[in-house]
Protein backbone atom coordinates (compact mmCIF):
# COMPACT_ATOMS: atom_id res chain seq x y z
CA UNK A 1 0.00 0.00 0.00
CA UNK A 2 2.95 2.28 -0.45
CA UNK A 3 1.56 4.00 -3.53
CA UNK A 4 -1.37 5.19 -1.45
CA UNK A 5 1.01 6.97 0.88
CA UNK A 6 2.75 8.48 -2.09
CA UNK A 7 -0.56 9.83 -3.29
CA UNK A 8 -1.22 11.26 0.12
CA UNK A 9 2.14 12.98 0.03
CA UNK A 10 1.52 14.34 -3.42
CA UNK A 11 -1.81 15.77 -2.36
CA UNK A 12 -0.21 17.37 0.66
CA UNK A 13 2.42 18.82 -1.64
CA UNK A 14 -0.15 20.40 -3.93
CA UNK A 15 -1.87 21.88 -0.90
CA UNK A 16 1.39 23.40 0.21
CA UNK A 17 2.07 24.67 -3.29
CA UNK A 18 -1.25 26.47 -3.32
CA UNK A 19 -0.47 28.19 -0.03
CA UNK A 20 3.05 29.06 -1.11
CA UNK A 21 1.84 30.44 -4.42
CA UNK A 22 -0.64 32.69 -2.65
CA UNK A 23 2.03 33.99 -0.30
CA UNK A 24 4.44 34.55 -3.16
CA UNK A 25 1.92 36.55 -5.15
CA UNK A 26 1.03 38.57 -2.06
CA UNK A 27 4.70 39.31 -1.43
CA UNK A 28 5.10 40.67 -4.93
CA UNK A 29 1.79 42.38 -5.61
CA UNK A 30 -0.10 42.56 -2.31
CA UNK A 31 -2.97 40.46 -1.01
CA UNK A 32 -5.56 42.35 -3.02
CA UNK A 33 -4.17 40.92 -6.22
CA UNK A 34 -4.05 37.32 -5.10
CA UNK A 35 -6.58 35.51 -7.27
CA UNK A 36 -7.53 31.87 -7.62
CA UNK A 37 -6.61 31.97 -11.27
CA UNK A 38 -3.14 33.33 -10.61
CA UNK A 39 -2.56 30.69 -7.97
CA UNK A 40 -3.74 27.99 -10.36
CA UNK A 41 -1.44 29.36 -13.04
CA UNK A 42 1.54 29.30 -10.72
CA UNK A 43 1.01 25.69 -9.65
CA UNK A 44 0.23 24.72 -13.25
CA UNK A 45 -3.33 23.59 -12.66
CA UNK A 46 -6.76 24.94 -13.47
CA UNK A 47 -8.71 27.03 -10.95
CA UNK A 48 -11.19 24.35 -9.79
CA UNK A 49 -8.31 22.33 -8.37
CA UNK A 50 -7.89 24.91 -5.60
CA UNK A 51 -11.39 24.01 -4.44
CA UNK A 52 -10.37 20.39 -4.00
CA UNK A 53 -8.10 21.54 -1.20
CA UNK A 54 -9.90 24.54 0.27
CA UNK A 55 -13.57 25.26 0.72
CA UNK A 56 -13.23 28.72 -0.75
CA UNK A 57 -10.89 31.68 -0.87
CA UNK A 58 -11.63 32.77 2.69
CA UNK A 59 -10.84 29.28 3.92
CA UNK A 60 -7.54 29.38 2.06
CA UNK A 61 -6.72 32.72 3.66
CA UNK A 62 -7.52 31.35 7.09
CA UNK A 63 -5.15 28.45 6.51
CA UNK A 64 -2.43 30.86 5.44
CA UNK A 65 -2.88 32.74 8.71
CA UNK A 66 -2.35 29.45 10.52
CA UNK A 67 0.85 28.90 8.59
CA UNK A 68 2.01 32.29 9.79
CA UNK A 69 1.35 31.45 13.42
CA UNK A 70 3.12 28.14 12.98
CA UNK A 71 6.25 29.85 11.72
CA UNK A 72 6.09 32.30 14.60
CA UNK A 73 5.56 29.49 17.10
CA UNK A 74 8.58 27.59 15.86
CA UNK A 75 10.65 30.70 16.46
CA UNK A 76 9.24 31.08 19.94
CA UNK A 77 9.86 27.47 20.85
CA UNK A 78 13.44 27.59 19.73
CA UNK A 79 13.95 30.81 21.69
CA UNK A 80 12.75 29.07 24.80
CA UNK A 81 15.52 26.52 24.53
CA UNK A 82 18.23 29.13 24.29
CA UNK A 83 17.25 31.50 27.04
CA UNK A 84 17.36 30.78 30.73
CA UNK A 85 15.49 33.53 32.54
CA UNK A 86 12.14 35.01 31.68
CA UNK A 87 13.40 38.45 30.85
CA UNK A 88 15.91 37.23 28.33
CA UNK A 89 13.27 35.01 26.82
CA UNK A 90 10.82 37.86 26.45
CA UNK A 91 13.47 39.98 24.84
CA UNK A 92 14.28 37.14 22.49
CA UNK A 93 10.72 36.55 21.35
CA UNK A 94 10.17 40.26 20.95
CA UNK A 95 13.00 40.24 18.48
CA UNK A 96 11.71 37.10 16.82
CA UNK A 97 8.40 38.79 16.23
CA UNK A 98 10.17 41.82 14.78
CA UNK A 99 12.19 39.68 12.44
CA UNK A 100 9.21 37.61 11.48
CA UNK A 101 7.33 40.74 10.48
CA UNK A 102 10.36 42.00 8.59
CA UNK A 103 10.87 38.81 6.64
CA UNK A 104 7.19 37.98 6.14
CA UNK A 105 5.47 41.30 5.72
CA UNK A 106 2.52 39.83 3.85
CA UNK A 107 1.93 37.16 6.46
CA UNK A 108 2.08 39.68 9.27
CA UNK A 109 -0.37 41.88 7.40
CA UNK A 110 -2.82 39.03 7.07
CA UNK A 111 -2.40 37.79 10.65
CA UNK A 112 -2.89 41.16 12.26
CA UNK A 113 -4.96 43.06 9.75
CA UNK A 114 -7.51 45.13 11.60
CA UNK A 115 -10.30 43.95 9.34
CA UNK A 116 -10.50 40.23 9.66
CA UNK A 117 -10.48 39.18 13.29
CA UNK A 118 -9.01 35.74 13.72
CA UNK A 119 -9.27 34.34 17.21
CA UNK A 120 -7.60 31.00 16.60
CA UNK A 121 -6.09 28.19 18.62
CA UNK A 122 -2.56 28.65 17.32
CA UNK A 123 -2.62 32.15 18.64
CA UNK A 124 -3.85 31.06 22.04
CA UNK A 125 -1.01 28.59 22.49
CA UNK A 126 1.41 31.39 21.81
CA UNK A 127 -0.10 33.53 24.50
CA UNK A 128 -0.04 30.72 27.03
CA UNK A 129 3.68 30.30 26.52
CA UNK A 130 4.26 33.98 27.03
CA UNK A 131 1.93 34.14 29.99
CA UNK A 132 4.14 31.73 31.88
CA UNK A 133 7.03 34.17 31.65
CA UNK A 134 5.01 37.00 33.00
CA UNK A 135 3.83 34.82 35.84
CA UNK A 136 7.44 34.44 36.81
CA UNK A 137 8.19 38.13 36.43
CA UNK A 138 5.09 39.24 38.28
CA UNK A 139 5.56 36.63 40.98
CA UNK A 140 2.15 35.12 40.28
CA UNK A 141 0.24 38.26 41.09
CA UNK A 142 -2.63 37.68 38.64
CA UNK A 143 -3.44 41.34 38.38
CA UNK A 144 0.13 42.26 37.55
CA UNK A 145 0.54 39.39 35.08
CA UNK A 146 -2.43 40.69 33.19
CA UNK A 147 -1.11 44.20 33.23
CA UNK A 148 2.44 43.40 32.19
CA UNK A 149 1.40 41.05 29.48
CA UNK A 150 -1.18 43.32 27.93
CA UNK A 151 1.33 46.12 28.08
CA UNK A 152 3.89 44.02 26.32
CA UNK A 153 1.52 42.86 23.61
CA UNK A 154 0.44 46.43 22.91
CA UNK A 155 4.00 47.64 22.78
CA UNK A 156 5.18 44.95 20.37
CA UNK A 157 2.16 45.24 18.12
CA UNK A 158 2.33 49.02 18.07
CA UNK A 159 6.04 49.25 17.48
CA UNK A 160 6.03 46.76 14.64
CA UNK A 161 2.95 48.29 13.05
CA UNK A 162 4.25 51.81 13.24
CA UNK A 163 7.96 51.38 12.66
CA UNK A 164 7.99 48.47 10.28
CA UNK A 165 4.65 48.25 8.53
CA UNK A 166 3.12 51.70 8.38
CA UNK A 167 6.42 53.53 8.63
CA UNK A 168 4.61 56.54 10.05
CA UNK A 169 7.20 58.68 11.76
CA UNK A 170 9.80 60.08 11.38
CA UNK A 171 7.90 63.21 10.39
CA UNK A 172 10.58 65.21 8.63
CA UNK A 173 13.55 64.17 6.60
CA UNK A 174 15.22 62.63 9.62
CA UNK A 175 15.65 58.90 9.49
CA UNK A 176 15.93 56.59 12.44
CA UNK A 177 17.27 53.10 12.85
CA UNK A 178 13.94 51.42 13.44
CA UNK A 179 15.39 48.19 14.69
CA UNK A 180 17.66 49.83 17.24
CA UNK A 181 14.74 51.90 18.35
CA UNK A 182 12.58 48.84 18.76
CA UNK A 183 15.16 47.04 20.86
CA UNK A 184 15.58 50.07 23.06
CA UNK A 185 11.85 50.27 23.65
CA UNK A 186 11.64 46.62 24.61
CA UNK A 187 14.58 46.89 26.96
CA UNK A 188 13.16 49.95 28.63
CA UNK A 189 9.87 48.20 29.15
CA UNK A 190 11.40 45.03 30.57
CA UNK A 191 13.63 47.06 32.87
CA UNK A 192 10.65 48.99 34.14
CA UNK A 193 9.25 45.73 35.47
CA UNK A 194 9.93 44.94 39.15
Amino acid sequence: MTHIERKQREKEEIRQNIINAAIKIAANEGWHSVTIRKIADMIEYTPPIVYEYFENKDDLMKEIVYVGFDILNVGFESARKNEINSKEFLKAISLRQWNFAKENRELFQLMFSLERVVPNEKMKRQFELIEKCFHELAKNDEELVMEYMTNWVCLIQGAISVLLMLKLPPPKDRTIDEEAFFIKMIERFLNSIE
Copy 2:
Protein backbone atom coordinates in the same frame (compact mmCIF):
# COMPACT_ATOMS: atom_id res chain seq x y z
CA MET B 1 -25.75 83.45 -10.87
CA THR B 2 -27.10 81.99 -7.64
CA HIS B 3 -28.43 78.84 -9.25
CA ILE B 4 -24.91 77.94 -10.27
CA GLU B 5 -23.89 78.00 -6.66
CA ARG B 6 -26.85 75.81 -5.81
CA LYS B 7 -25.69 73.31 -8.38
CA GLN B 8 -22.26 73.38 -6.89
CA ARG B 9 -23.75 72.66 -3.50
CA GLU B 10 -25.84 69.82 -4.86
CA LYS B 11 -22.84 68.22 -6.47
CA GLU B 12 -20.92 68.50 -3.26
CA GLU B 13 -23.82 66.89 -1.49
CA ILE B 14 -23.86 63.91 -3.83
CA ARG B 15 -20.14 63.53 -3.31
CA GLN B 16 -20.66 63.46 0.42
CA ASN B 17 -23.51 61.00 0.05
CA ILE B 18 -21.28 58.63 -1.84
CA ILE B 19 -18.66 58.77 0.88
CA ASN B 20 -21.23 58.37 3.64
CA ALA B 21 -22.88 55.46 1.88
CA ALA B 22 -19.54 53.68 1.59
CA ILE B 23 -18.81 54.22 5.27
CA LYS B 24 -22.26 53.06 6.26
CA ILE B 25 -21.98 49.85 4.27
CA ALA B 26 -18.52 49.23 5.70
CA ALA B 27 -19.83 49.76 9.22
CA ASN B 28 -22.50 47.12 8.69
CA GLU B 29 -20.81 44.55 6.48
CA GLY B 30 -17.10 45.38 6.41
CA TRP B 31 -15.01 47.08 3.74
CA HIS B 32 -14.70 43.94 1.64
CA SER B 33 -18.39 44.13 0.81
CA VAL B 34 -18.47 47.77 -0.16
CA THR B 35 -19.26 47.79 -3.89
CA ILE B 36 -19.93 50.57 -6.32
CA ARG B 37 -23.33 49.13 -7.07
CA LYS B 38 -24.37 49.06 -3.43
CA ILE B 39 -23.22 52.64 -3.02
CA ALA B 40 -25.16 53.66 -6.12
CA ASP B 41 -28.21 51.87 -4.81
CA MET B 42 -28.01 53.63 -1.49
CA ILE B 43 -27.76 57.11 -3.01
CA GLU B 44 -30.44 56.18 -5.57
CA TYR B 45 -28.32 56.60 -8.65
CA THR B 46 -26.73 54.25 -11.15
CA PRO B 47 -23.13 53.06 -10.77
CA PRO B 48 -21.51 55.31 -13.41
CA ILE B 49 -22.47 58.35 -11.37
CA VAL B 50 -19.84 57.41 -8.80
CA TYR B 51 -17.23 57.86 -11.51
CA GLU B 52 -18.32 61.43 -12.03
CA TYR B 53 -17.05 62.20 -8.57
CA PHE B 54 -14.15 59.79 -8.11
CA GLU B 55 -11.62 58.46 -10.58
CA ASN B 56 -12.11 54.91 -9.42
CA LYS B 57 -12.75 52.86 -6.31
CA ASP B 58 -9.24 53.29 -4.97
CA ASP B 59 -9.55 57.03 -5.32
CA LEU B 60 -12.83 56.92 -3.40
CA MET B 61 -11.15 54.92 -0.65
CA LYS B 62 -8.32 57.40 -0.48
CA GLU B 63 -10.80 60.25 -0.05
CA ILE B 64 -12.54 58.35 2.72
CA VAL B 65 -9.22 58.03 4.51
CA TYR B 66 -8.89 61.80 4.27
CA VAL B 67 -12.31 62.22 5.79
CA GLY B 68 -11.15 60.07 8.68
CA PHE B 69 -8.10 62.23 9.29
CA ASP B 70 -10.24 65.34 9.09
CA ILE B 71 -12.54 64.08 11.81
CA LEU B 72 -9.55 63.17 13.94
CA ASN B 73 -7.97 66.55 13.32
CA VAL B 74 -11.08 68.40 14.40
CA GLY B 75 -10.97 66.49 17.65
CA PHE B 76 -7.32 67.33 18.13
CA GLU B 77 -7.83 71.01 17.43
CA SER B 78 -10.66 71.28 19.91
CA ALA B 79 -8.59 69.47 22.52
CA ARG B 80 -5.87 72.04 22.06
CA LYS B 81 -8.23 74.81 23.07
CA ASN B 82 -9.28 73.12 26.29
CA GLU B 83 -5.95 72.01 27.67
CA ILE B 84 -3.24 74.27 28.96
CA ASN B 85 -0.10 72.21 29.43
CA SER B 86 1.42 69.75 27.03
CA LYS B 87 0.90 66.71 29.17
CA GLU B 88 -2.79 67.26 29.61
CA PHE B 89 -3.09 67.90 25.92
CA LEU B 90 -1.34 64.67 25.04
CA LYS B 91 -3.55 62.77 27.42
CA ALA B 92 -6.58 64.40 25.86
CA ILE B 93 -5.68 63.56 22.30
CA SER B 94 -4.78 60.02 23.30
CA LEU B 95 -8.32 59.66 24.52
CA ARG B 96 -9.69 61.34 21.45
CA GLN B 97 -7.93 58.81 19.28
CA TRP B 98 -9.31 55.99 21.41
CA ASN B 99 -12.82 57.32 21.12
CA PHE B 100 -12.45 57.96 17.43
CA ALA B 101 -11.44 54.34 16.88
CA LYS B 102 -14.29 53.17 19.08
CA GLU B 103 -16.91 55.22 17.28
CA ASN B 104 -15.50 54.81 13.78
CA ARG B 105 -14.07 51.32 13.68
CA GLU B 106 -14.31 51.07 9.91
CA LEU B 107 -12.55 54.37 9.36
CA PHE B 108 -9.79 53.46 11.74
CA GLN B 109 -9.38 50.15 9.94
CA LEU B 110 -9.01 51.87 6.63
CA MET B 111 -6.69 54.60 7.89
CA PHE B 112 -4.29 52.26 9.63
CA SER B 113 -4.70 49.01 7.76
CA LEU B 114 -1.30 47.40 7.38
CA GLU B 115 -1.87 46.77 3.70
CA ARG B 116 -2.41 50.07 2.06
CA VAL B 117 0.20 52.57 3.13
CA VAL B 118 -1.11 56.10 2.91
CA PRO B 119 1.47 58.77 3.60
CA ASN B 120 -0.75 61.80 3.24
CA GLU B 121 -0.68 65.49 4.07
CA LYS B 122 -3.52 65.40 6.56
CA MET B 123 -1.57 62.91 8.59
CA LYS B 124 1.54 65.03 8.53
CA ARG B 125 -0.27 68.04 9.90
CA GLN B 126 -1.44 65.93 12.77
CA PHE B 127 2.05 64.88 13.61
CA GLU B 128 3.33 68.42 13.50
CA LEU B 129 0.78 69.47 16.06
CA ILE B 130 1.78 66.66 18.35
CA GLU B 131 5.45 67.25 17.77
CA LYS B 132 5.15 70.70 19.29
CA CYS B 133 3.98 69.21 22.56
CA PHE B 134 6.87 66.85 22.74
CA HIS B 135 9.24 69.70 22.02
CA GLU B 136 7.94 71.32 25.14
CA LEU B 137 8.13 68.16 27.18
CA ALA B 138 11.56 67.23 25.97
CA LYS B 139 12.84 70.78 26.33
CA ASN B 140 13.79 70.95 22.66
CA ASP B 141 16.27 68.11 22.84
CA GLU B 142 15.75 66.86 19.27
CA GLU B 143 16.87 63.38 20.11
CA LEU B 144 14.47 63.10 23.02
CA VAL B 145 11.58 64.61 21.06
CA MET B 146 12.02 61.91 18.47
CA GLU B 147 12.17 59.21 21.09
CA TYR B 148 9.21 60.34 23.14
CA MET B 149 7.05 60.93 20.16
CA THR B 150 7.78 57.65 18.45
CA ASN B 151 7.21 55.91 21.72
CA TRP B 152 3.87 57.60 22.13
CA VAL B 153 2.73 56.82 18.60
CA CYS B 154 3.65 53.17 19.00
CA LEU B 155 1.89 52.94 22.32
CA ILE B 156 -1.34 54.49 21.09
CA GLN B 157 -1.39 52.53 17.88
CA GLY B 158 -0.60 49.27 19.63
CA ALA B 159 -3.05 49.74 22.46
CA ILE B 160 -5.92 50.65 20.20
CA SER B 161 -5.12 47.88 17.73
CA VAL B 162 -4.82 45.22 20.40
CA LEU B 163 -7.43 46.26 22.93
CA LEU B 164 -10.06 47.74 20.68
CA MET B 165 -9.68 46.35 17.20
CA LEU B 166 -8.09 42.92 17.41
CA LYS B 167 -9.25 42.24 20.96
CA LEU B 168 -6.38 39.82 21.40
CA PRO B 169 -5.94 39.34 25.12
CA PRO B 170 -7.35 38.60 27.66
CA PRO B 171 -6.30 35.00 27.11
CA LYS B 172 -8.70 33.14 29.37
CA ASP B 173 -12.20 33.91 30.48
CA ARG B 174 -11.07 36.97 32.38
CA THR B 175 -12.32 40.25 31.03
CA ILE B 176 -10.70 43.61 31.47
CA ASP B 177 -11.96 47.11 31.20
CA GLU B 178 -10.09 48.03 28.04
CA GLU B 179 -10.68 51.72 28.31
CA ALA B 180 -9.50 51.98 31.91
CA PHE B 181 -6.48 49.96 30.93
CA PHE B 182 -5.73 52.24 28.04
CA ILE B 183 -5.92 55.36 30.19
CA LYS B 184 -3.64 53.79 32.76
CA MET B 185 -1.08 52.96 30.11
CA ILE B 186 -1.09 56.48 28.76
CA GLU B 187 -0.76 58.00 32.19
CA ARG B 188 2.10 55.73 33.09
CA PHE B 189 3.88 56.67 29.90
CA LEU B 190 3.38 60.40 30.34
CA ASN B 191 4.52 60.20 33.95
CA SER B 192 7.64 58.36 32.93
CA ILE B 193 8.68 61.40 30.94
CA GLU B 194 11.04 63.91 32.49
